[in-house]
């Protein structure tokens, strides 16, 4: 038997295996194998995060870090004054407790989840969590961290895992409004995995740097009041009827370890 015919045979067999893999996945035959494979891989992902986890502030000097912390502390205090009920429910002693306190304050239900993998492709921003169908996660459910900061929405879900597209991805869009100005509504979308942009804001509304944009509740399955980002820069053109704003996300993608996926709108 010649080498060429061996290779042709290998190629045909490989093509057959790939075709059956894809077919069986979508039919559901492979679900138990996928479930066990993910259970096997989850500890590796979590261990990798635990070992290689870094501060989300790479590249900033200590002085810049202190300045940023001070600015964020002032912003947190300002938000707390505006939302008295949320401030009473908050307990600053941990990520999980913060998320649970937020859920209680807003009368929402959600499932705690952990990140097991991140996107290896920098052109698509997503994370893989260890919560899936079996725990009530559905496509379109928002995922939050800390005190209601939305990090993305579930775009694909299996029995025991889900893929969450981050808000900074180009494909993410949210209907949004400013926390201080309910008339300033617009659409927030991700920009190249780095920041957010809010468009379609009426020119008649005054937007200032530092204002917080939140979800407006127009999107299905997404509760109103989830924090999207903070205004970094306002962009207006003379004679235009709409304005835009660049937003800074209030989470660091590389620091997402524990999150909550909301199961009630």
């Amino acid at each position: 038997m010649t080498t060429t015919s061996n290779q042709r045979r290998l190629l045909i067999r490989t093509a057959g295996v790939v075709a059956f893999l894809i077919l069986f996945h979508y039919v559901g035959v492979l679900r138990p194998i996928e479930r066990y494979t993910l259970r096997l891989l989850s500890p590796i992902g979590k261990a990798s995060l635990a070992i290689f986890h870094r501060s989300g502030h790479e590249g900033l000097s200590p002085a810049e870090l202190r300045q940023r912390v001070t600015m964020l502390e002032e912003r947190v205090a300002d938000l707390s004054v505006k939302n008295v009920r949320l401030e009473q429910a908050l307990d600053a002693s941990g990520e999980v407790t913060q998320q649970q306190a937020f859920l209680q304050a807003k009368n929402l239900r959600g499932v705690q989840a952990q990140t097991i993998a991140r996107s290896p492709d920098p052109t698509i921003q997503y994370i893989v969590s260890d919560a899936g169908n079996s725990r009530g996660v559905r496509v379109g459910s928002p995922a939050i961290v800390q005190n209601g900061i939305v990090i993305g929405t579930v775009i694909a879900v299996d029995d025991e895992s889900s893929r969450i597209l981050l808000t900074t991805d180009n494909r993410s869009t949210f209907a949004a409004v400013f926390i201080d100005n309910q008339l300033a509504q617009g659409s927030v979308s991700g920009v190249r995995g780095l920041s957010l942009r809010m468009d379609l804001i009426p020119i008649s509304e005054t937007i200032r740097e530092g204002e917080i944009a939140v979800t407006s509740g127009v999107d299905p399955n997404i509760s109103p009041g989830l924090i999207l980002g903070e205004v970094d820069r306002v962009e207006k053109q003379q004679g235009a009827i709409l304005q835009s704003a660049s937003l800074r996300p209030l989470y660091t993608a590389s620091r997402i370890d524990t999150l909550t996926i909301l199961t009630t709108p």
Binding site: T3, Q7, L10, L11, T14, A15, V17, V18, L21, I22, H25, Y26, E34, T37, L38, L41, I44, G45, S48, L49, F52, H53, R54, E58, I116, A117, R118, S119, P120, D121, P122, T123, I124, Y126, V128, V139, I155, A156, D158, S161, R163, L165, N170, R171, R192, S254
Partner: protein
């Protein structure tokens, strides 16, 4: 036997690094397809069967942890290794450094384009799925990926030549 074992370990290590370590540590290596480079190395060591099986298994595992339509990455790895193998046998036919680099470059470009095509087809069939977008950023990312992959492949090549005597002595019939 030892060569097959080492190549299998190499494939497993690069797969785990690509999926779980590089995305976490956020280095310039992020996005560099180490697994494609490892598959090409396997092929150059005369183990095209291990490379093909590795492409299927590695692709399936990557698909489980991917937001792209299932099968996009498996199909892309297999298509890449098959086409690179054909190019090696039919056109390049030697294991010199320029030949190796050109195979790595070809594999990198082929993989990116295959993922784009396969994921776009999946998105066409189900619009709720995510796929890479054919924008200027996509082409910029391919160029960036090419440069990084070339650098990594160069380092790997000289390491293999320095520590692996068998690479230089592989005979033609092993392919």
């Amino acid at each position: 036997m030892m060569r097959r074992l080492l190549l299998t370990v190499l494939l497993l290590t690069t797969l785990i690094a690509s999926l779980f370590i590089l995305p976490v540590i956020q280095t310039p290596l992020l996005g560099t397809n180490l697994f494609v480079i490892a598959l090409i190395l396997c092929m150059l060591f005369g183990q095209s069967t291990i490379a093909t099986v590795g492409a299927v298994v590695g692709g399936a595992v990557s698909d489980l942890l991917s937001a792209l339509p299932f099968g996009s990455i498996t199909f892309s790895y297999v298509a890449t290794i098959v086409i690179v193998h054909w190019a090696f046998r039919a056109r390049i036919t030697n294991r010199s450094f320029p030949a190796y680099l050109s195979l790595v470059a070809m594999g990198t470009i082929l993989f990116s384009i295959s993922v784009l095509l396969a994921a776009s087809l999946g998105k066409f069939l189900d619009s709720s799925m995510v796929a890479p977008e054919l924008t200027s950023a996509f082409f910029v990312s391919i160029v960036s990926l090419l440069i990084r992959s070339t650098v990594i492949a160069t380092i790997v090549y000289f390491l293999v030549r320095a520590f692996g005597r068998s690479y230089a002595t592989l005979s033609e019939h092993e392919f």
